[in-house]
Symmetry: C2
Subunit: 287 residues, 2 copies
């Protein structure tokens, strides 16, 4: 089977790489903190010295990193991927980063003879472990089709959404809608609590009709049990909402829900709630 490069063995990257190894792919992996790679070497992954070293032996390199700057560094920086990548190879960035920077990275890679797909995911660590991620893919359709089996090894709902950058754009739309629904769920439960309603009963009644959402149905019960581990952390939710705000300021226009959720998640971060799951937004307010 094809050998794949995988850069970024974190909370998301590790289970995704694990699923690729279990499906029979050979993997050359790199992570800045090398100790994170140990569990994967036991499954047969080779650990490379640098992103450049990963690129020497593969024709497809996946990146799963924390932010725009990290992706730029790994691709174009010192000992970066492009220094050794063979012409015709493909870079698949599965991180959530700036759509504007993504288009620029794709342009630079194409100028060097490579293809790039932006393929951010939704579904969190749980979805990464289960191999049920949603994947929103931007780039050339033909490149997307070549990578189809690979996407279906790590994800379930794989959607081709358009040219380069459209994967990131769709992901940011998803993050804005999800954060707004989360705010609705949190504020509804706060109102019920302030009014002395039974929270289980309220959650059941509200989840069964026109006010239902994934956030309410899945994170509502965690709030009732006071379980605030991520899931998807407030820090990462804030990072994504910041990308939404930056993108909106480039597009222009009035987006009041985005302004509000960004403001609230910024405050939550300042209050030291960054490492809680995003349902921990409710802890911004006293009971």
């Amino acid at each position: 089977m094809v050998k794949i490069g995988f850069i970024g063995i974190g909370n998301m990257g590790k289970p995704m790489a694990t699923n690729l190894l279990r499906a029979g792919y050979s993997l050359s992996i790199f992570n800045r903190r090398r100790e994170k790679c140990e569990a994967l070497t036991a499954l047969g992954a080779e650990v490379a010295e640098s992103p450049q070293h990963v690129a020497e032996s593969t024709k497809v390199v996946i990146t799963m990193l924390s932010d725009t700057q990290a992706v730029e560094q790994v691709l174009f920086g010192e000992k970066g991927v492009v220094l050794s990548l063979k012409p015709g190879s493909t870079v698949i960035d599965m991180s959530t980063i700036s759509p504007v920077a993504t288009v620029e990275f794709a342009r630079r890679l194409e100028a060097l003879g490579f293809q790039m797909l932006d393929a951010p995911v939704s579904g969190g660590e749980k979805g990464a472990v289960a191999g049920t991620l949603g994947i929103m893919v931007g780039g050339r359709r033909s490149t997307f089709e070549e990578c189809h089996p690979l996407f279906h090894t790590v994800g379930k709902t794989v959607t081709y959404v358009g040219p380069s950058g459209h994967g990131q754009k769709t992901k940011l739309v998803n993050q804005l809608v999800g954060a707004t629904n989360l705010l609705g769920a949190v504020e509804g439960l706060r109102l019920a609590r302030a009014a002395g309603l039974d929270l289980e009963t309220t959650l059941q009644a509200v989840s069964s009709g026109a006010a239902s959402s994934w956030m309410l149905a899945n994170l509502g019960p965690l709030i009732l049990k006071e379980e605030f581990c991520p899931g998807f952390s407030i820090r990462l939710q804030h990072k994504d909402l910041k990308l939404v705000q930056q993108w909106i300021s480039e597009l222009g226009g009035d987006f009041p829900a985005s302004n509000l959720v960004y403001l609230l998640f910024t405050r939550a971060l300042e209050m030291g709630l960054g490492d809680q799951g995003n349902q921990g937004l409710i802890n911004m307010w006293e009971r």
Copy 2:
């Protein structure tokens, strides 16, 4: 079968009364504008001259009216229900009105020897026609249990939520969460449109994961088809959000999502969008 009084033969009351008649209940009905009753007389309903007249011949009176003042008038005003209601009878208010006023109405009715249930519904005209409304019932549990068959004739998910006023409180929590989710759906689609994403594809990708909601899945497609008939009108959504704001000002505390959606629906009303379905919120912004 028991004879039921039904006051308020509007967009919601008419299909609900129809379902009661079809299930074999005898109905005495009243509506301020009498011509709205005609279709129901054809199904066997008797039309009464006044709310008082309805109360003469029944032991259960349902009200389905537009606001708090209308309910007060029908119950306690000139030719009101209490003037002829027999001791031990039950008033079921299925309107969405102030929870504070509801508790007061229940207290006044109990002092006169009657029971009251507050039983607001969700599911809109469509749910009323299909008999699939969600019903959130507050009041004495024993009274709720006596009225069980009646609720299951007009609704599907019937939840007993606690003492008097709790039905209205649960409904207002529901309206706040729903309006916030609607804002998320609208703003997500606006962002996708501003960015030139394919809206069908975006809707499909975002609806399938953690950002999904009833509002996005059900009203998103209407927005794409530019169908803005109610459904549930902006005028009624605004009325309910105003009740939420009044209730919150009595409870105290900071509810930023409620403030935002109330502000936006107030503006939408001022812009003349009141008779559009609530998905018409998107028409507040130019393309």
